[in-house]
């Protein structure tokens, strides 16, 4: 039988981080089945090492660092072929309820494209902030850098996006 406290601890961490983690991996890879594989793998690792991780201050950081290692492990293997196909994103954009508003949809598409064109560091910081909603401090911890660098890169990335859409926003 599965021990009750283990499953409770796991479920607490799992529910808290499943969506931010899923969105991070998905945005980094743009590949649904690969994202699912990595997420499953990371949560299985979490379950296996729960007793160790429970003692560390933030299990979320552990989850993101583990997922990040898997993502970059995959990217290294793939040697980052820059396929900027947006199929997945278009398919995704169709199920949002603001799609009637042409202008909003246009901004969304523009931003999606711009995110793909960002340099790797800025893109990752932007994803961790906007898709996973992590704080500057958490992002800095995951990337092994300091808060100031995270802030600087994030602000510059956003500034570029704002420049792109400024003519559409009145």
């Amino acid at each position: 039988m599965i021990r009750a406290d283990t499953i409770i601890n796991f479920t607490l961490v799992y529910n808290l981080y499943k969506k931010p983690l899923y969105n991070y991996v998905w945005k980094m890879l743009n590949d649904k089945s690969l994202t699912e594989d990595i997420i499953q793998n990371v949560f299985l690792k979490l379950f296996k090492n729960l007793s160790v991780i429970k003692n560390c201050s933030n299990p979320g950081n552990w989850l993101f660092i583990t997922a990040r290692n898997e993502v970059f492990g995959y990217l290294r293997k793939k040697e980052i072929r820059n396929e900027n196909f947006m199929d997945e994103d278009f398919e995704f954009a169709s199920d949002i309820n603001v799609v009637n508003d042409v202008e909003v949809a246009e901004i969304k598409n523009l931003i999606e494209k711009e995110i793909e064109n960002m340099d790797e560091d800025s893109k990752e910081i932007f994803i961790l902030r906007e898709y996973s909603e992590l704080s500057y401090h958490e992002i800095a911890h995951i990337l092994g850098t300091d808060d100031g660098i995270v802030k600087g890169r994030l602000f510059r990335a956003r500034q570029r996006l704002i420049d792109k859409i400024s003519k559409l926003v009145r």
């Binding site: 969506k19 995704f92 954009a93 969304k108 602000f155 956003r158 559409l168």
Partner: protein, 153 residues
């Protein structure tokens, strides 16, 4: 120059990382500055354009079923790793004890046999001695089953 600094504050505010005491200052500036208001709106448009995916229910099912599978395997492993070896240790120990018991028993029989051997040897020597001390005898056997033993004196 002032606006560049304020735009940083706007971003901090949007991320929920602006200190409370700076909020009043920021809003005061926003009320006065059209450019920064536009920046704020554009930033909001950027942030709200981010579409987050829901966590797929199928994946959730997959994760939990593989967890249960893993746990069952772990329990089987517990059986394989703990129960079976301890059983074989117990069996080995029993065999060792039995071996020791039989060894001791065998030694006992051995000494017993040696004693009996000694006894037989002694008895045969006695018989031989007795036999030699007797005068020679002649034994005649006839067809009518009469056996005549005569001592030669």
């Amino acid at each position: 120059m002032n606006c560049i600094k304020n735009r940083e504050l706007i971003q901090l505010y949007a991320d929920g990382e602006l200190e409370k005491n700076m909020e009043f200052y920021l809003f005061d500036h926003l009320a006065k500055c059209e450019e920064c208001r536009l920046f704020f709106r554009a930033l909001n448009a950027v942030i709200s354009s981010v579409i987050k995916k829901e966590f797929p229910a199928i994946l959730e099912k997959k994760i939990f079923s593989s967890l249960i599978e893993k746990e069952e395997k772990r329990e089987n492993n517990f059986f394989m790793k703990i129960i079976i070896p301890s059983l074989s240790y117990a069996a080995a120990f029993l065999i060792l004890i039995a071996g020791l018991y039989f060894y001791i028993k065998m030694n006992e029989y051995k000494s017993e046999m040696a004693a009996i051997n000694q006894q037989i040897k002694y008895q045969s020597q006695t018989i031989e001695l007795l036999y030699n001390s007797l005068s020679p005898t002649v034994i005649h056997a006839r067809y009518d089953h009469e056996i005549i033993i005569k001592a030669k004196i």
